[in-house]
């Protein structure tokens, strides 16, 4: 654990400094976590909701955080769980199949006023939504954020070997999608 993290942890355990310390955490991590979530849910409004839930969960769970993991890892884990829960709930609410979920996500993307990509990027996004959820998560983390497999292992609890295989399969599927699309 770095010295800054250790200091931050001390502040989080001090009831008088807790709010200020957490406020600093929100400011430091909000962008990274937002993009991590946004790549999965695609729409800005949904990403905003999930981000709020993520920080609220972290705030309420501060007493349970003893610094066993890095703050980054801990927050990414919460954000990932919240995102997957959000997508599962959405699926349940709409009683959609995987195919319909793809269509729904693409609809989100097309109707989102904050999508500012070109034609190729739109095709890439279309290809990404065809991937299974976990594979999509791995692909996004590696391709867009260049997160190391070791970090991903700590966040997702999946071995480095499995993550590498997952990314490799995702790339193959995306290239195949481009050929067939």
């Amino acid at each position: 654990m770095s010295q800054t993290e250790a200091e931050l942890l001390l502040q989080l355990n001090n009831p008088h400094k807790r709010s200020a310390a957490f406020s600093g955490i929100v400011r430091s991590y909000q962008e990274r976590l937002y993009w991590h979530i946004r790549k999965m849910v695609l729409s800005h409004d949904d990403a905003n909701d999930v981000l709020q839930n993520t920080f609220m969960k972290a705030w309420n769970g501060l007493d349970g955080f003893r610094g066993d993991a890095q703050i980054t890892t801990w927050l990414y884990r919460i954000a990932t769980n919240e995102t997957l829960t959000f997508l599962a709930n959405k699926r349940m609410r709409n009683l959609t199949s995987i195919d319909n979920e793809e269509a729904s996500l693409l609809q989100n993307l097309k109707s989102d006023t904050y999508f500012d990509g070109d034609e190729l990027q739109l095709r890439l996004q279309k290809a990404i939504v065809t991937l299974p959820e976990k594979q999509r998560l791995v692909f996004n983390m590696k391709y867009f954020d260049d997160i190391t497999y070791e970090q991903m292992e700590a966040i997702l609890g999946t071995s480095v070997g499995a993550l590498k295989a997952s990314y490799h399969h995702a790339v193959k599927k995306i290239e195949k999608f481009f050929e067939e699309d």
Binding site: V26, Y34, R38, L51, G117, L120, R123
Partner: protein, 105 residues
Amino acid sequence: MEKKKHISLDEISNKLPFGVPENYFDQFAVQFDNQIAINHISFVNRYRPWMYVAAVFVGVLLFGRVFFTAYQNNQAANTENYEMYVMSQVDEDEIIDYYLTEGNN
């Protein structure tokens, strides 16, 4: 326009093609600070009745202690007064006679 079939991922920018509303992150942080503050207040509100009950309990204990001490002091004073009253009703000769009679027995 015909779509290009053989696209490699290297040809596509890995910059995210999404945007956010202006000042979104600044506003998010401020809103979240407020949310935490409200949560903190509601925590105090939630436990306020229990705080009152605890305060009343402590008050009753303190009052009981003061009352009990005063009661004990009063009892001691009453006993002393009673003894003095009894002694005042008996004259000194009678007491001397009593002790002498006791001594004879």
